[in-house]
Amino acid sequence: MFKVIVRVCVLFTFTGTGVFAEQSTIPHGTTDAHQIVAGAVDLMRGETSYTEMSMLVHRPDWQRSSSLVGWTRGRQDALIRFTAPAKDAGNATLKQGEKMWTYTPKLNRTIRLPFSLMSQSWAGSDFSYNDLSRTDKLLHDYDLTLDQVVDSEGGHRIYFITAVPHEDAPVVWGKEEMIIRDDFVLMSQTYFDQALEPLKKMETLEIREMGGRMIASKMRMAKLDEPDNYTEISYDVADFGVQVDDQLFTLFALKSGGRG
């Protein structure tokens, strides 16, 4: 149950990452790291989206894959529902601003998630809600510096950015390093502990055009000291600017099971 809850939390972000209004590029000669990250974050915002995803949790002894479907509206609202495997199908999570609920059809019950649980680094998968859900944190809780600009072979410019959290920011990391492509696609994000040792890394494995945009269509999060443990998310369908019903992001829709 818990695993499912947390796993679903993470996906809000992923559905979010696919949502952007307009693909622009970083102008040449930019030195303002803040602007670059703001662009990347803005890419992740959008009006509405509909996505179908699959998630693979890989461990040395086993791996498991599930399918999900999700709707988002802005950064505030999201609804995610498992469609496969059958054991998890119907499990759903609703996000309204800061609040979250889960619904399990087997129990026919919605549960409001306590904040402490949402901030857990969870078992079973390698993402944590905090890593991913609040990407705009990068803009106000960190000092951002542009370290390096490199021209890649594919004709893209790659920007290397270091983010150091403010003294009283609610961030546990010592620092984060991001690599952002000139079309604002986040290529990788590495999380360092406070001894500045890298702990885990999120990498974009595949960039594809979906729903009319170039997006990171496949991402992998792995702990660096356990490279055999990772979680991959890939998008099968992504549509942006779709029409969603206001009713979708309500507790009623959460309970009514997929027909919302």
Binding site: E98, F115, S116, S119, Q120, S121, P165, H166, E167, D168, A169, P170, V171, V172, W173, G174, Y191, D193, Q194, L199
Partner: protein
Amino acid sequence: MKLLWQLSVRNLFRHRRRTLMLVAAIVVAVSSVTLLNSLIRGFQYDLAESAVANLTGHIKILAPGYRDDPSIEKSFEIAKDWQPDIPAQDMQGWAPRVRVPAVIMSERETRGIQLVGVDPASEHISFVGSARYIGERLVGSDDKRVVIGKVLAEQLETDVGRRLVLITQGADGLNREAGFRVAGLYDAEGTSLEKAFVFTGLSRLQAMLDAEVVTEVSVRLNQELHMSGIKTTLVDFFSGLDVLDWRELEPQAAAMFVFADTAIYIWFLIMMGALVFGLVNTLITSVMERVREFGMLRAVGMRAKSIVAQVVIESSIVMAVSVAIGLALGGVFIYWLRDGIDLTQWAEGMEMAGMRSVMYPHPQADDFVLVAFLSMLLGVFASLYPAWRATKIKPLEALRR
């Protein structure tokens, strides 16, 4: 009277071996009772001390309902210049605090803890002030850093100088989260404290919670003697709030405290009860051995009262001497154990009983007096029966033997 004394003393010296055995038995009993007594007292006071020092204080003022649902909503305001109306010689100090449940996160771990905002200057009354620290202590009410327990630091895999994220609920019911740098690690006696409490500056926490209030005021007295009177004063002042003493706040410790009192008396009764039978036995033997002597005394006109007095005096002398030696020996044992009995090996189990890992004797003058007094009383009591037997000796029969 002088004659009776002489007779008694001479009788005692006539049977040195028997007298010495008796004295030895009483000495062992009395000294073990004193030693055990002071160890139990040590345990008792240690218990009370740690119950009072672990943020409880002697008296604590809480908002109604806080004990059932500890949150910032169950709080109250105190004036900046408020001082408790307690005579200075009775009060060791007082401390306002904000104590709320919170979640603490490091890069690797997350734990639920109690986040306590303190004014370090007034925390000499709790273990916050007295604990050993690795790194630094909090320096003021507006200190933006935290101190955490050594054990918690190990669990979180963090260290002095690292940052941690704390999440708690603000006065408006919404979540607050912020980063805090670790100023230092405290080493409290008892890992449960180290795991449970994280401290930061009081006004820093108030600012984070958006609430100029406190959830508790803890008062530490110099001694418990005037506690109930002071409590009444505080109840009057803080009408509408819960004013509780440590016995109400730590009922388990209070029960153990009472239990220790009882244990002392039970132990004393067992030891002395066993001793009384030995004493009676010895005295009867000594009376029976002197049938002729008593018969003679009666024949020359000594009254039964004087015979009783003689036996009682005999037993009292033995008692007085042995109790004196016993107490002295007990005192020597206590002195010898003054650095405490190290029970670190069993520290975890001891902690469950609310004890520290080192057991110190805590001799108390009135316990000594009580032991001496009760022993003497028992001595006299025990000699009455043999003395009565002595008066039943018929002079004619005795002399004919």
